[in-house]
Symmetry: C2
């Protein structure tokens, strides 16, 4: 495991539980190394996760348990492991350090599961091609829609149907803000402050409010399901800053809500506040995410759920791990 923040720890906690999904399928797993920004801890016979979690919670790093200053790249390259879980924070400009981690993992013949949008936004095709060349599996369900198996659903839909367009409410923070503004008639800055106090919005909410986070997820979704090779610069992006409670009220009176929608089709990629009919499945409330596929035969299929949250998103990592195990 490279990166051991909220998500990595939530996954570790699940792995410690009796009857977890890996155990249920009699797949013996051991975590042989955990590396974070400050260092790492290694045990080729399998780490004692209780102890590691304890230290990580207390000190914000696992370094003191093992080797402070240990380099993730070195560990990925030299250690024997089947899978590298790349769980470092997203850097949308360079994709680093995740991009290097993933390449190192693939080049040393390891399968990769990641929750990190950065590398996929920066170098989608490079990574998917590298995985193919190296004969390793590369899974990134957790990058789009958190716990919602959006990419797996898309794969199934592509089988017997054809995806014509995708529209997604892909950012829980902005959706929460729009929902509260609509319900309470409050201005954006007040709702934002409330969301920050609740831990729903980050201290610096720019990436969310300006639609960048939505655009990143859209790029990954479009590339992996429509076969594009888009990057962030291909997305026409408008955030929610100009949306007022008055606009939401007017929309509601006409039977609509306003949602920050990422759209992808052969016509291009965009992120913008959009009118969604109140009774349309895409009109989800609060921190929910939703993705609507427009299809040649099935017309429309929409999936929704919680697009964030460490425990929720762990289920995506576990599904990816289990799919890799099944294919081995």
């Amino acid at each position: 495991m490279v990166g051991f923040g909220n998500l990595g720890r939530a996954l570790a906690r699940i792995l410690l539980q009796d009857g977890n999904p890996l155990q249920r399928r009699k797949i013996e797993t051991s975590v042989v190394a955990i590396v974070d920004e400050k260092g790492g801890v290694i045990d080729e016979r399998g780490l004692r996760l209780e102890r590691v979690l304890e230290v990580a919670e207390k000190e914000g790093s696992v370094a003191s348990l093992g080797q402070p200053g240990l380099s993730a790249v070195e560990v990925i390259r030299s250690l024997e492991a089947d899978v590298v879980l790349e769980l470092t924070p997203t850097n949308i400009r360079t994709g680093e350090p995740g991009l290097t981690h993933i390449k190192e993992a693939m080049n040393s013949g390891k399968h990769v599961v990641t929750s990190n949008k950065g590398p996929l936004v920066a170098a989608f095709r490079e990574l998917t091609e590298l995985a193919q060349r190296r004969g390793v599996q590369f899974r990134y369900s957790a990058t789009v829609g958190g716990a919602i198996p959006v990419l797996s659903l898309a794969k199934r839909l592509c089988l017997g149907d054809r995806i014509l367009a995708i529209r997604g409410v892909l950012n829980g923070t902005t959706n929460y803000i729009l929902t509260r503004m609509e319900r309470e008639g409050l201005p954006q800055d007040i709702v934002l402050r409330e969301a920050q106090e609740l831990g729903i919005a980050e201290k610096d909410p720019t990436l969310d409010l300006e639609g960048i986070d939505t655009a990143c997820k859209l790029v990954i979704l479009a590339n992996s399901t429509l076969g594009l090779n888009a990057t962030l610069s291909d997305v026409n992006i408008t955030g929610i800053s100009r949306i007022t409670p008055e606009a939401l009220k007017l929309a509601k009176e006409a039977g609509y809500t306003v949602r920050l929608v990422g759209s992808a089709s052969s016509k291009g990629l965009s992120v913008r506040p959009s009118l969604v009919p109140l009774d349309h499945p895409l009109a989800v409330s609060g921190t929910l995410n939703a993705v609507c596929f427009e299809l040649e035969y099935a017309r429309e299929i929409t999936i929704s759920g919680f697009g964030a949250g460490p425990r929720e998103t762990s289920s995506a990592l576990l599904s990816d791990l289990l799919e890799i195990a099944q294919n081995l």
Copy 2:
């Protein structure tokens, strides 16, 4: 193909289209036999579907093109084919003639794709076990949620998570009626007549209105995802006949809508009109269907789409066919 009603014909029309999903994956398909109630037509080199469709549309049967009185069982047993598509109408009491067709197909080593709820409701475990024993694949996506890949999604969710409960709006006719009653304040009998005129409700809408159709789908969904072996008699069923426009109005004032919800969990199976918060993804409108999975980690995932319609449901048949082809 056994059964050649609206669904079978819609599928045949798609198979005739250039660039259909099978063709896109370079899977050569030929339909070697089509049998309906009145007889069948066989051509081991592949039927000319244009001609078959023409006759079926005009005469309501393909019999005059081939052999009137030809028995489906005989064809299934003796003809060489990889897959039998069982598309005869649902008989919820005995499951026949679909049940016999499916058993014959499996016993003669053929994979089965079906849209017929009857055999699965009557003999779920018998059929899944027979398929396993005979080493054939058995797919029935089209039986639950029409075009919505509910069963395939459930499979993925079971991988990295645990399904605790399922709630589904599984009948488009009742959902249309409830939606119209709510919106227009009209009594049920008037809305029903309108739905019948539009072809949304059948002449005899009993199975829909009384919740039997929902219960059938619930049984299949629960058996295949929760590992139960339930039949229709295990479901506690209440239909929508007692729902008045007044009840819908009161619910709406409190922020709810009333939907006919099928629920399954370890506590049992039930179908009954239920209050659903207006902003919950399960509160779909019109003829849409939706299924909400309650999960250990991901909390809630909901999928919605069109649960009926021959063209829509064809996409489920095609996905099933392609999954079988991929596994071969």
